[in-house]
Symmetry: C3
Subunit: 260 residues, 3 copies
């Protein structure tokens, strides 16, 4: 039997909004290490990895490892019915083919339960070994989202280059070219407004802006985003979820043939 | 001759917004008892009844009973041109086939008059005798609207059941089921936030969510809504309009054949 | 070589938003008198004239007269990528077929440059001699925009009539007629809320509401708008841009044949 009670229910709503565009169906896995998900998008370019650790839940009851296949779009529809301040409890009986989401309003005068059918989904967990990245950039998540959105009005791909100068986002399209440079900046009022660049060696990688714009839907989950980049490796775009875990997107770079 | 001057013009705008989706054309009746409307929706499932009493108008001049057929969509288009703080005056000459809406800005430096053609509409007034309802639920109107909207993302019909436990709204659809329970709750900061349930006997009725979502367009007219329910009778969903009257929706329950 | 540095970059964004619906392609002219544009809409009913004087720029470097043909839609796409508080610098090398827009964030930690291809556009400058207008109306720009929007839900054309009574905007359509009268009003808290009518002789002109609704996109540029009207002349609708210049729309009146 499974019972996970999350006081900040709004967080689960934001998690779903941030992954449902990339992935249709996925297994949520529940074990002693936490409530997690790993799934690949249909074009096999991006992998989403979510972890919510047990300490983040008010109640985390999970007496054996369980994997629950869910349609993320349907799950998102149900979670949209929770208020942002509602407590969300996720329940599943042993052997049941359904999961129940219970929403309690803060004043407890309204209680909703939504029951959803589970699905059988074949999936394999991919291993992503810890790597030494050529460059790691931490920046405000809203800035990163804005840049991806802006560039996609000009072109389809973005070249992300890290040099001593800073991190450069470039694109080109029919109407012209665009370059946005963010410099290291730690002289800020609030630590989450800083842009911090750790560079071991310069790196330049190309990504589809479509994927970037999908994964930046995770922006409401965290004030900052971390980009980890190495030549020939998938980039890791990580949004930390305060005191609970993270959502990470592994994004394969494009091999450019006809572009400089 | 008819001249009705309503200082809170925004109220008439809200009235139109709340009925124009259900009803296309309707007669507005003006008499010593007030400015009123009764109309059935095209699928003959819902009846709207509006009453605005003379005391709510700054000037209520109506020297004989008059019935004015209006296209509600066109009337709503004209009223949208009034500012929310404008004073609205409705005028009709005896024997004229038009009605004039005059909008005065609060500072009186802008005066608009919109003239609309009247229509001949055959309609009969239905009588709705006062009934002893099995259950009467008063709850915040925004809560009721939110529940109807939420459930319609799962199913097409809602079962409203009143028991000692509270009022339960249930639906089912392809992706699963949903139940929302609101308990009696009078320990609130403001009286309009209370949920009050008067039950003579348990009742359970099924309604189309499409109609529920149409009639909850009246939510801006009142902080609270009252549902009056009896087996075999149309439900009454009433929004009181402060110091002036009400808008009521009579909604025929669905006869379920293949549902529990 | 050309280099124009505008600290209030948001202003250039607003300028583009206000003209891109009327005009597709246009030459921006840069000379000692300022950065300007004059262009006719494709149906040859409206002419836009923009002037931004050198004193409004932090840096205005323009060593010879230059005319740059731009696609306004593409230019607007690029300017949308500037933050509202960004400093915008426009640069062009001599003989180059591109223009560069540089956006600097207020904190200087983000710098973007967008390069756009220029176009060859044949255009002739029209002369609009100073005229003695029959009537000049100055009114709040948001009020004027609201009236044009409201009337276009009823009809397609607006008759603007100035009399001693005030300025009257009228339309008629299938569902009825509408008249909005604004009276002279100088007893206001803030000077920009005044409605001031200078009338030498009464005037009444008819315009397409489609054009009115296009040109009122300039509303964010100024709190007030000035309408200059004379029988048989194009109306001038002017939005002053504080301390820098103006955007003016010359709009040909309609010759009504079958309307009173």
């Amino acid at each position: 039997m499974l019972e996970l009670r999350l006081v900040q229910g709004g967080l689960l709503k934001k998690v779903l909004e941030s992954i449902k565009d990339l992935v249709n169906d996925a297994n949520f896995d529940c074990s002693a290490t936490g409530f997690s998900l790993q799934a690949m998008d249909s074009s096999q370019v991006a992998v989403v990895a979510l972890l919510l650790r047990p300490e983040g839940f008010e109640r985390y009851w999970c007496d054996r490892n369980i994997s629950m296949g869910m349609n993320l779009n349907n799950m998102a529809k149900m979670l949209k019915c929770a208020g942002n301040d509602d407590i969300i409890t996720l329940k599943a009986e042993d052997g049941s083919d359904t999961v129940t989401f219970m929403f309690e309003s803060p004043t407890q005068d309204k209680i909703a339960d939504f029951e959803m059918k589970l699905m059988d989904i074949n999936s394999e967990r991919l291993g992503f070994p810890e790597a030494d990245y050529h460059a790691i950039v931490r920046m405000p998540s809203s800035e990163f989202a804005r840049i991806c959105k802006d560039l996609s009005s000009i072109g389809n791909t973005v070249v992300i280059s890290v040099t001593k100068e800073g991190v450069r986002f470039s694109t080109r399209g029919d109407i012209g070219t665009a370059n946005v440079v963010c410099r290291q900046n730690t002289a800020v009022d609030k630590p989450e407004e800083a842009t911090i660049i750790e560079m071991n060696e310069p790196v330049s990688l190309t990504f589809g802006l479509r994927y970037m714009n999908s994964l930046t839907k995770a922006t409401p989950l965290s004030n900052t985003v971390t980009l980890s980049l190495s030549s020939g490796l998938p980039a890791v775009v990580e949004y930390r979820i305060a005191e609970m875990g993270y959502i990470r997107f592994y994004l394969a770079p494009k091999i450019e043939e006809d572009d400089d």
